[in-house]
């Protein structure tokens, strides 16, 4: 494998862990409240967060926590986004279907999130990234297979870094496993020039 992990972030079981360190945790909250509190913990000013669905909020928070103490400056299309996801936008699809079934007017703000790849759009907009992005639906997460995709994106010259991994949610069940990776040994090569 020709990539190396720079940082990793997991969000599960009411905890946010970055590079092995627990950065945020709170017990006995429903997911929507957990997400709001995790956002406020970052002291960000990004009101659009509250308009996102849970899938996007998880992807957004995972990325923000992952990059929180990162000193790399990304420019233009340095970063490719590559995400795996199991249940697509089912959580929001169900919400949208519920509004239809109730016979009330559907919500445009709900409807726009009935696609799972919107989560990558939210990350790209926030960070002003214009690089490649790839979303693969699959039943579960396998790091080795994700790393192959990331490796391809980097080794083919599409990006210097790849950020992504697994973001999945339905109702209050969720899991986030994100990585920021780069080409293996890239720092050594730069040093030796």
């Amino acid at each position: 494998m020709a990539i190396q992990v720079i940082s990793s972030c997991t969000i599960e079981n009411d905890e946010i862990i970055v590079n092995g360190d627990l950065l945020f945790s709170i017990e006995d909250e429903v997911l929507s409240e957990f997400l709001k509190l995790a956002y406020r913990h970052l002291n960000l000013s990004y009101p659009k967060f509250f308009k996102m669905d849970k899938l996007c909020q998880l992807a957004f928070l995972g990325t923000e926590y992952l990059l929180k103490d990162n000193d790399i400056t990304f420019t233009d299309d340095d970063v490719a986004l590559c995400f795996f996801n199991g249940q697509s936008s089912l959580d929001t699809d169900a919400k949208h279907q519920h509004l239809i079934n109730e016979g009330t007017k559907v919500s445009p703000a709900v409807f726009v999130y009935t696609l799972p790849n919107i989560m990558m759009g939210e990350i790209a907009i926030k960070n002003k990234w214009y690089g490649e992005n790839l979303l693969i639906l699959r039943p579960d997460f396998n790091f080795e297979e994700w790393a192959l995709e990331a490796d391809l994106l980097i080794s083919s010259g599409k990006a210097k870094y790849c950020l992504g991994g697994w973001v999945d949610v339905f109702q209050d069940n969720y899991q986030v496993q994100l990585y920021l990776v780069e080409a293996a040994g890239i720092k050594m090569k730069l040093t030796s020039i």
Binding site: P47, F50, K51, T104, K105, S107, P108, A109, V112
Partner: protein, 84 residues
């Protein structure tokens, strides 16, 4: 509760403006753009739904949106005119 206050409460609720309270929105403050409270095109669609659901007012001509959605005051004026 004044009509303006009612509109603000619905805007905050419908548009998930969690960081704002009705007191944070001035009656004549622009709703869109950098000088305003930062609403976007999806929010404009939500306002159309909100007007219909909560005030029974249908925006007859989408071209009017730019004027009607300028501020809480312009929304209130439109609701009053549409009801009369």
């Amino acid at each position: 509760m004044s009509l303006q206050e009612e509109i603000k409460k619905h805007l905050i609720d419908q548009l998930n403006l969690e960081d704002l309270t009705p007191e944070d929105i001035a009656d004549d403050q622009p709703l869109f753009g950098d000088a305003g409270i930062g609403l976007d095109s999806i929010d404009a669609l939500e306002i159309i739904v909100m007007l219909d659901n909560n005030f029974g007012v249908v925006l007859q001509n989408p071209e009017q949106g730019r004027e009607v959605f300028k501020s809480v005051n312009t929304l209130a004026d439109y609701i009053v005119k549409s009801r009369s």
